[in-house]
């Protein structure tokens, strides 16, 4: 586990997080935006795991909580998408401008 330098795995985590951010900005499909958010959560998990040999095993415990929160978020978010789809017949974010002035 010391065979991989810390900078490499943290750099991979930063790159994956940035790809997730770019996906949220560039896509309009609500489900794909949710998937990009899952990718960002996963990048943070990678940073936690990479740092856990240096900052204590608490990092790996935190990854558990992040996974649990991601599961809850996916369930509630997809339920919201289903209920919005029932009204608008669309998952395109351009059609959900009701709360935007």
């Amino acid at each position: 586990m010391e065979a991989i330098p810390l900078q490499y795995s943290l750099g991979l985590s930063a790159i994956l997080f940035a790809i997730g951010v770019a996906g949220v900005i560039v896509r309009r499909n609500a489900i794909v935006m949710f998937m990009c958010i899952e990718l960002m959560l996963n990048a943070v998990n990678l940073a936690f795991v990479a740092l856990s040999p240096y900052a204590g095993v608490q990092g790996q415990v935190f990854v558990f909580f992040v996974i649990a929160v991601a599961a809850a978020e996916a369930a509630v978010g997809l339920a919201i998408i289903i209920s919005v789809f029932r009204h608008k017949e669309s998952v395109d974010m351009a059609d959900f401008s009701l709360l935007r002035w």
Binding site: I4, Q7, L12, G23, V32, Y54
Partner: protein, 177 residues
């Protein structure tokens, strides 16, 4: 000369980044979901290479198994697999997204490249402390013992959160409550 572990790390890192880029750029949401599953598998392999075996298995079981099946189920429930229209924004948004991604990578690289980062943060942390804990408790116990002793309050809070999320999802997705 890179070791075998480092070669494997670079291979799986390339897989993860390539799958993530493909996930963002595919037009079909089903293809996006499948590429995201590929990313999750590559990240699980990297977890294993970093020594977190149990986290890697949980990543495959929970993320690639449960959460992505939920996503694919919703995509097929809403019938988005065909007759989709291109939902990628225009050139200006793409440049903005690329700039934001580069800015985030630059900022994080500046923080991560700080020279004082890799030294252990406490007396009971550090690679050999982790190795001792692994030898004492095993792969699962090294996470489970602190989770059920130190972190019992967050664990209960997570249980409440999951219960609320399940009830909330049923309430939101049902036609008539």
């Amino acid at each position: 000369m890179p070791t075998l572990t480092q070669i494997l790390f670079f291979f799986f890192a390339a897989c993860a980044i390539g799958s993530a880029v493909a996930m963002v750029t595919r037009k079909n949401p089903v293809a996006s979901a499948l590429w995201l599953i590929g990313t999750f598998f590559a990240v699980a392999a990297i977890f294993t290479l970093l020594g977190a075996f149990f986290i890697g298995i949980i990543q495959i079981l929970v993320y690639a198994g449960a959460i992505m099946v939920l996503f694919l189920f919703v995509i097929m429930l809403l019938n988005l697999g065909h007759a989709y229209h291109a939902d990628i924004r225009g050139r200006g948004w793409q440049i903005f997204a690329g700039g934001a991604a580069l800015l985030i990578v630059a900022l994080l690289a500046r923080v991560f490249a700080a020279p004082e980062l890799p030294h252990p943060l406490g007396s009971q942390a550090g690679p050999e402390a982790l190795r001792n804990a692994l030898a004492q408790h095993g792969t699962v116990g090294v996470i489970g013992v602190p989770m059920y002793t130190e972190f019992i309050v967050p664990l209960q809070a997570t249980a409440m959160l999951l219960l609320i999320a399940v009830v909330g999802a049923v309430v939101l997705a049902k036609r008539k409550v």
